[in-house]
Symmetry: C2
Subunit: 331 residues, 2 copies
């Protein structure tokens, strides 16, 4: 039910997943009458893989997240996470209220042993073809201790190794300079912990302008810095896109031969298309919880589901738990 | 002497300023023999407006900033700031070690009355033609109290009103959401202080993606967030530029008719050209100190000098002192 467009975006994405992944079963939590509109024309075998958990209550994006625990327990958002807790579902994907999703997940699902705080991990495009970088935390925690930074590094490294097939993911800390004396005491202390740990391929500090350079596969930061970083980058990309379109509108020969420019724009968009990177994972809880952007399109929501499926395929929460047991000595 | 290219960039910029601003006098601090190479061919009247303070010592970019006070007191960087302290010069412009410049400036020049900590303020392009936004702090302070955020807001607002001619500059706080409960306790408390102050046109929280939207003329944040924001934006811009060039190289018809694309790239670059925005000011000290990017070109260093001249024309440090006296009650 979540996101700017609700089922109009989420339902076509779900059905596309159903068609492409024959082993996937969908448990759709929300208003049955609104959901059923999209199920017309499905084959019997497809319908068999769909279950609806009806609730008419929706937890609005505009509500304060902490209301979810007081008055939102009958909302589709809360019930969807509850299905993961009760092991009726294996993963929950939502385009709803981010704060509420995090709060309810932390409330219902326990943290993985050894993890003090879950974090949101998101994917950013890289400057090289096919390159990408994961960033965490992008908004779950505002204040982060050195031990928590260390835990973020482990979680990010496990997730990226699993889903991208890289045996060792390179991990960096986001900082305002590359020298050891730069940054907050927490970040400097986290660097010491990571350097001492053989289980993490720690490559040092990266600065804001190096995020897209492919220096690291995982970039660790606190939720404030991460949130601002990914939003500022998206803002900068939008500025350029606007500039390009203004430039084309201004000149008759570009307007006239605009079709010649299409492959050019397609190239740029293929790499930067936000749908491609949609889906941030709440990592560190016992379960797979993926948050889609509220303004995501069908392709974007589908991508968020794909993220969840990949993490299930490798059982990322279990991998993190195993790794945490091994590295608990370092901390 | 500072920056990646030293006098090869700074000297041509200085001479261009000398030609365009007939009332400006230059006090060049550095190695006399290297400087004099660039003075050949100048007219007598131009040479009259140039003075050289010789020192062969340079404070390297790679040194720890705090060394400037121990072993860097004979460096061109330290001596240049010393000239502002002794009122031999009215402003200091440098492309040298940023940390050392800040440290030496704070050490030599007193803070403006009412200002607890100086901040670095930088200019960012906006999405509308001719639009721009000032951001502070971009790296001088890592931890910032609500009172200091408030002081940053006053300083930024005074500077922007003076140099841009806007009677009231709109001020926003950078945050991870627009709702009142979002962000750190310090930022939320700063919002309360700013809302209560009639002297500042406070417009609320802005998120990272809104920085370029022209919602605010001044965006206030701590030095960690500011530093990462401007660097991440620059990184994102570079990704797109690379993508565009790759796209053009890949197709024969773009390669063949590349000249047709030139106006297009010129449009984009006219707005985003980093030279145009070069020059961050250390605001809050009793004097005008402008830091140019180390990798800036001649046009960029010239822009940094122009920043200093504009601030001198309006006597920005004095304006800040006057405004602080008026608003001291609020804090």
């Amino acid at each position: 039910m979540g996101g700017d467009s609700g089922p109009a975006v989420t339902m076509p994405a779900c059905l596309s997943i159903l068609r492409r992944h024959l082993s996937v079963k969908l448990l759709l939590v929300g208003d049955e009458s609104l959901i059923k509109v999209y199920l017309k024309g499905l084959s019997e075998s497809e319908l068999c893989r769909i279950q609806i958990l009806h609730t008419s209550a929706v937890f609005a994006d505009t509500l304060r997240p902490d209301n979810i625990l007081r008055s939102g327990r009958d909302s589709s958002l809360f019930l969807a996470i509850e299905q993961v807790r009760s092991e009726t579902a294996e993963a929950c994907i939502s385009a709803g209220n981010t704060g509420a999703l995090m709060l309810a997940s932390r409330h219902l699902l326990k943290n993985i042993q050894g993890i003090e705080k879950p974090a949101m991990i998101a994917m950013l495009p890289g400057s090289r073809a096919g390159g990408f970088t994961y960033v965490l935390d992008v908004g779950a925690n505002i204040e982060t201790t050195p031990r928590q930074f260390f835990q973020f590094a482990i979680m990010g490294s496990v997730l990226v190794s699993a889903v991208s097939g890289k045996p060792r993911a390179r991990v960096a800390l986001l900082n305002i300079g590359s020298e050891a004396h730069k940054g907050t005491p927490e970040i400097r202390q986290a660097a010491i912990l990571l350097t001492a740990c053989n289980d993490v391929d720690y490559v040092g500090f990266v600065e804001g302008n190096q995020i897209f350079d492919g220096i690291a596969d995982v970039i660790v930061c606190d939720g404030f810095a991460g949130n601002i970083t990914i939003k500022a980058s998206a803002g900068a990309v939008k500025v350029i896109e606007n500039l390009m379109h203004q430039s084309i509108r201004r000149r008759w020969y570009y307007r006239a031969f605009g079709f010649c420019m299409r492959p050019f724009f397609r190239d740029v968009r293929r790499v930067l298309n936000p749908s491609k990177y949609n889906g941030a994972t709440l990592i560190g809880v016992q379960g797979v919880i993926v948050k889609s952007h509220g303004n995501s399109d069908r392709a974007g929501f589908e991508q968020a589901i794909e993220h969840a499926l990949r993490q299930l395929a490798f059982n990322v929460p279990h991998l993190i738990a195993t790794r945490m047991q091994k590295t608990v000595d370092v901390m």
